[in-house]
Symmetry: C2
Subunit: 243 residues, 2 copies
């Protein structure tokens, strides 16, 4: 139980007091689990719950009329999801389990009260939204201005970074539970072209692939291809209101 993983994520940015940790844990209103492929929240449905990812990979996606799909974001342990419900009645995108997954549902009323009882946490949550927003703009630049190779390179670097953030070992390679079709939906390419692109990346010695396992061999060249700008998050603590 508990939303320990939320405290874990926020703890990456600033150190939390025991009272703050307790408040975050107290947000929990139960857990749920889903099988790979399960739709946690359909597009255009009611927005539904706010929740935290405890384990597994999820993604948010939007469908087009012609059946094509764009995956907007991947979500990992510690990510806070369903926040659209604060500002919309209707879900702007679908949330789907990419692997088997556990989530922790958050009590909506308590989440509101958090802003009153722990303004420092409220402000911190506001600040971490900026991190998410910048990640989205980076993807926007990638989709708008990069070649297929650049887009795939950017995606792989971003995944590696997120896994590292979540504390998983990455340097010796890591499992990517994405089909080439899903990689295409993330990068705005077709599955066929993803295949060709990844073959080239392999032939050029930038990555090594074995099944769903992937290893980044030449981080620097990959980063140049991806137009990758390293971003160092640094929450300005002086700005936060006192505990």
């Amino acid at each position: 139980m508990g939303t320990a993983c939320l405290a874990e994520t926020l703890g990456h940015y600033i150190s939390l007091s025991p009272a703050e940790r307790a408040a975050l844990d107290g947000l929990a209103a139960g857990t749920r689990q889903y099988r790979r492929g399960a739709v946690i929240r359909p597009e255009h449905g009611p927005t539904g719950d706010i929740f935290v990812v405890k384990s597994g990979w999820l993604f948010s996606s939007a469908m087009l009329e012609d059946g094509r799909r764009q995956i907007v974001r991947l979500h990992f342990r510690g990510d806070l999801l369903g926040l659209d419900s604060l500002a919309f009645d209707e879900a702007p995108d679908a949330i789907t389990a990419l692997t088997d997954a556990h989530i922790c549902v958050i009590d909506r009323a308590k989440f509101g009260l958090l802003f009153a009882d722990h303004p420092r946490l409220g402000a911190l949550l506001f600040a971490t939204q900026q991190v998410d927003r910048v990640a989205l703009t980076d993807r926007l630049v990638s989709l708008g201005r990069s070649s297929a190779r650049g887009r795939v390179a950017a995606l792989l670097l971003w995944i590696a970074r997120r896994l590292r953030f979540a504390g998983l070992p990455v340097n010796q390679g890591f499992a990517v539970p994405l089909t080439q079709e899903e990689i295409g939906d993330l990068t705005g390419l077709t599955a066929v072209h993803v295949n060709r692109t990844m073959r080239v990346l392999g032939e050029q010695g930038l990555i090594a692939r074995a099944g769903s396992n992937l290893r980044i061999l030449d981080h620097d060249r990959l980063a140049r291809l991806a137009n990758h700008t390293p971003r160092r998050e640094a929450i300005d603590e002086s700005w936060l209101p006192a505990r």
Copy 2:
């Protein structure tokens, strides 16, 4: 003086108490003005101030190594900018004045205290971030999965919507102070292809162009082309903590 335009924007979502309006006004720390083309905050520089747009159009953009540019967002009256500074030392994108513009600088410390003194406003600001985030994901879908015509159509609809939100008349046509190169940087196209695309949109009777003036003739067909999903913002007031 004053940040009346911030209260104006937030007032679109919920009705504010006089005390809340006063608190928002009290955030102001001076105004500045810029000429068309002036860079308010360069990319990779220090993140700098938080501010509200009082008048004019601004944009955020990122440059690639090869000199190409992607415009990430347009900003209008009432938009709250520079929030990256809460989570980053280094500006992730440049902010530039597209037209002559006035901004109102916000006192950083007071902005932090707002979360403590007016938790309802803090929570509301958090909720409005979700609106911005959804707008970004819509653009992401457009760049990832739409044709040139679809992307330009989506951009024009989005601009019209924003102007309407700001209270400007739109139905009889409106001035768009964007060069075709800038429209290209917004949509991930080249200026040449933007030209061809807009000519086609005109020939098909979807829009009418006269100089920098633009009029939407067939909103429905344009929306279909753009894969436009109308989004109704609806802040959940029951969730907000009490005043």
